[in-house]
């Protein structure tokens, strides 16, 4: 599980996600030849959902597991345009507070329940119901005021204030429409099985093992712009949980599975060179994998010390070496695939150990103790880093050990304090740490609001992503402004200002840009991508 691993919610429907779409490798899957119906696709993933209900779960993997089963009211393409799906059309009121949807007719959930206005209301109400304990979805429609059923196929959703990110949020699997009958079964049942109207139907979900689906033969409501219409091409789809990197890779190379998520960077060259496989990479949008210094307590309250840490560690070399060029060193808190990415951050700071040492001297950390760490007034320059090793993907633990050794060179005593999630959450809420690490995938610049807005600071009652616990009136103002406007250029300008300010103040230590690296057998075709860099299987097919 992870509270952070996740959350790719797209915002601001009107925005074109110009930079999105990511980078595609030259070894794209060969889609030549006529698609074949039938067959089974087995795909191995590196994490698993602890709760299958996307309305409740904060994990991005829940989205991947439920997308085959759940349709949404609208869909979002990788250009950032909203298309009709279960909603035929919609109107937004002049004050931008109400959305009226005309729903598609003839749609049925796989349990036989008919899709109608009541179903939409039941789903949205379920998301915000405190009993659902939504850890993500509800947070993206906080001004939600209620849903009114106008007639069988018309529904009106009201907000207490304008909320432009609504349509993009609706397009994600976290707002997937579940059968209202199944919602009545309660959280425990939903955690293990969700029923929707999608191209696949869940056979069985087994924790720590995976999930199996079969084709929904009645499916006839694919979103506009899909590769085909009608039922899915695969008879069966299976997602297998293989957490061990070496085992997942071995399962692919020994032919046990047809495709795998997260090819370990160290093995990318090997897979590329193997004629049996294809490799595709997608740059994930949103917050990079970053380190967040606690700006409210400890040594990182001093901006000079923060800058010294960021500039005194050769992140670029470390990332290049450790990830073999598969992940790029990050410059901004958000990835280049994010709407509003500010290219200027790439030249705003660079590795300079001498300057870092000078900054630390200026900040008063002039002493040295027996182990070579800097001291000030007899106190060691210690950074406490609460690290959840069990959930560290992508060799993050190896990276952490490297950074620890690099930090020692400029006099930091970086202490990795291992914690379980149970121990981590209260510490994070209290701000009882000097450094936190996570990535935050989300397709547009609004991710910056999650990361740096005062209202995103975690409290005992609210879980937010402002790991730096950064609070700045100017930044808050720019971020609020970005919510109030739909003008693309204007928002990009505001986001650039935010990125510049947090970079100047070293409020974040950008680490690497995450690439989703998918390795698959050559017989697999037609896997498509969601805008948040996740594969979808509706159009997938396998040659015999």
């Amino acid at each position: 599980m992870t509270l952070f691993r996740s959350a790719a919610v797209l915002s601001a429907a009107a925005l074109a996600l110009a930079a999105c779409g990511g980078t595609s490798d030259d070894t794209k899957p060969d889609t030549a030849g006529a698609p074949v119906n039938g067959g089974t696709l087995v795909y191995a993933v590196n994490t698993e959902p602890t709760n299958l209900d996307p309305h409740a779960s904060p994990q991005d993997i829940t989205g991947l597991f439920t997308r085959p089963v759940l349709d949404s009211l609208v869909s979002l393409d990788d250009k950032g345009t909203i298309h009709p799906w279960l909603a035929k059309s919609w109107e937004i009121s002049a004050d931008q507070k109400t959305y009226t949807f005309k729903l598609r007719e003839g749609v049925k959930f796989s349990d036989g329940t008919v899709f109608d206005a009541e179903a939409v209301k039941a789903n949205l109400d379920h998301i915000v119901d405190p009993k659902t304990k939504s850890q993500l979805a509800a947070g993206f429609i906080t001004p939600y005021a209620g849903t009114t059923v106008i007639d069988e196929h018309t529904v009106k959703v009201a907000f207490s204030k304008p909320h432009s990110p609504f349509l993009a949020a609706l397009a994600t699997a976290y707002f997937g429409i579940e059968s209202p009958t199944s919602l009545k079964a309660g959280p425990d049942a939903l955690a293990k099985k969700v029923i929707g109207s999608g191209p696949f139907v869940i056979d069985a979900f087994t924790p720590h093992q995976g999930i199996t689906y079969h084709r929904n033969p009645d499916y006839d409501w694919a979103p506009e712009g899909s590769s085909h219409t009608g039922p899915a091409r695969l008879d069966k789809l299976e997602l297998k949980v293989l957490q061990e990197d070496s085992v997942r890779l071995g399962a692919l190379t020994s032919g046990q599975v047809d495709g795998i998520a997260s090819v370990p960077p160290v093995n990318v060259k090997q897979i590329k060179a193997d004629p049996r496989f294809t490799l595709e990479t997608r740059q994930a949008p949103g917050g990079n994998y970053n380190y967040y210094p606690n700006t409210t307590a400890g040594v990182f309250t001093d901006a000079k010390v923060r800058r010294a840490f960021r500039d005194g560690i050769d992140f670029k070399t470390v990332i290049d070496k450790l990830y073999f060029g598969i992940f790029q060193p990050a410059a901004s808190p958000v990835s280049p695939a994010t709407q509003g990415y500010d290219k200027a951050t790439e030249t705003a700071w660079k590795y300079d150990a001498a300057a870092a040492n000078k900054l630390l001297d200026e900040a008063g950390w002039t002493g040295r103790d027996g182990e070579g760490f800097r001291t000030k007034d007899g106190k060691r320059l210690t950074v406490r880093w609460t690290f959840v090793r069990a959930f560290a993907r992508e060799q993050r633990a190896t990276l952490a050990e490297q950074v620890q050794a690099e930090a020692k060179k400029i006099g930091f005593d970086l202490q990795l304090q291992d914690a379980t999630v149970a121990e981590y959450v209260p510490r994070f809420a209290k701000g009882d740490y000097d450094l936190a690490d996570f990535s935050w995938q989300r397709a547009d610049g609004d991710a910056l609001r999650n990361l740096f807005d005062t209202s995103s600071i975690t409290t005992p009652t609210f879980f937010g992503q402002n790991g730096s616990r950064y609070s700045d009136k100017e930044v808050d103002g720019w971020l609020a402004g970005s919510l109030g406007t739909t003008d693309n250029a204007e928002r990009a300008e505001l986001y650039a200002k935010v990125q510049q300010k947090v970079t100047d103040n070293a409020v974040v230590f950008p680490v690497y840009v995450f690439n989703y690296v998918l390795g698959a057998s050559k017989k697999v075709h037609g896997i498509t991508w969601e805008p948040q860099a996740y594969p979808t299987f509706y159009g997938a097919w396998v040659t015999k």
């Binding site: 399962a251 020994s254 149970a422």
Partner: protein, 306 residues
């Protein structure tokens, strides 16, 4: 008969002790008992209050203890709020795969060591030292190390066997060998020593004098005697196999008890950990009773003795 009853009584005592340890753990875990039970599972305040009253956690400790014993007696080993399932349900789902792996692994170790012991007992020094050399290597290669080597060579490099999971017989081969390697060493050693003792017995000489072939003597006469000491290894075997299961299932990403308990420990899912503890001691006690009964059947002289 009296012996059996005494033995049974003391086994039940051991079981009661294990259950009491489990209860004590729940009470002694820092923080409130309800937090210990819920672990990291997100639960609404209403559900939480319901659990407190269901498990009588608001009652005095002796009453909680009586209730705890009562629930276990009824076969209720608790509920995991992280797995959204009862402990027996979760264990039941994983148990089959683990039992399958253990049986095949132990069986393999047994078969190989019988053959090796038969071939090497009382043979030339060079043959024997080869065999004891192999035994030593078996002892000094931990199961996880054997598992990684097998996985790398036979799955990643040669592609003969699948790397992960539990689909079909071919996915069982490598994990079973990994489980068998450390067992084989001890089995062979015990069997060989037993065989050598038996081969020195007068009845063997008698058999040989009657013209029985060496192979016949070894298999028909000596082997039976040599198998007896293996029965004493049952308790050890049980613990050893359990330990191997956990690491081997991890390396091969194979579902089973090992994965269940590891995830439970990582997630602080105390009901599952304690449920497995109690269930394991149930199995252990049962195995021990069977072992005692087996002794009585094999060697009637023990019937009068305590």
């Amino acid at each position: 008969m009296r012996t059996v009853l005494i033995r049974l009584g003391s086994s039940l005592l051991v079981l009661w002790g294990a259950i009491t340890v489990a209860f004590a753990v729940l009470q002694l875990t820092p923080g409130s008992t309800i937090d210990a039970i819920l672990g990291t599972a997100p639960v609404t305040p209403e559900a939480r209050a319901q659990i407190v009253s269901d498990l009588k956690l608001d009652r005095p400790v002796p009453e909680q203890y009586a209730d705890f014993l009562g629930r276990i007696a009824r076969g209720d080993f608790g509920h995991s709020y992280q797995l959204h399932d009862s402990v027996t349900g979760a264990v039941g789902r994983e148990l089959g795969s683990s039992i399958q792996l253990s049986l095949v692994g132990v069986g393999l170790a047994f078969a190989v060591s019988i053959v090796v012991a038969l071939l090497t007992a009382h043979r030339r020094r060079s043959v024997r030292s080869l065999s004891s050399g192999l035994e030593l290597i078996g002892v000094s290669i931990p199961a996880f190390w054997a598992a990684i080597l097998l996985l790398t060579i036979f799955s990643f490099k040669l592609g003969w066997f699948p790397a992960a999971g539990a689909d079909g017989a071919s996915s069982l081969v490598l994990p079973a060998v990994a489980v068998a390697v450390p067992l084989m060493a001890i089995f062979t050693q015990v069997l060989r020593e037993g065989l050598e003792l038996a081969l020195d017995e007068p009845f063997v000489a008698t058999a040989r004098a009657r013209g029985a072939s060496d192979a016949f003597v070894r298999v028909r006469h000596a082997l039976r005697h040599a198998l007896l000491p293996l029965v004493t290894l049952v308790g050890w075997l049980f613990g050893m196999t359990f330990g191997s299961l956990v690491v081997v299932e991890t390396v091969f990403s194979r579902p089973g008890m090992g994965q269940l308990i590891l995830h439970a420990v990582e997630g602080k899912d105390l009901p599952v950990v304690l449920g497995v503890v109690v269930l394991t001691s149930v199995v252990f006690v049962t195995v021990n009773i069977l072992q005692d009964l087996a002794y009585l059947i094999i060697d009637p002289r023990l019937r009068g003795a305590r």
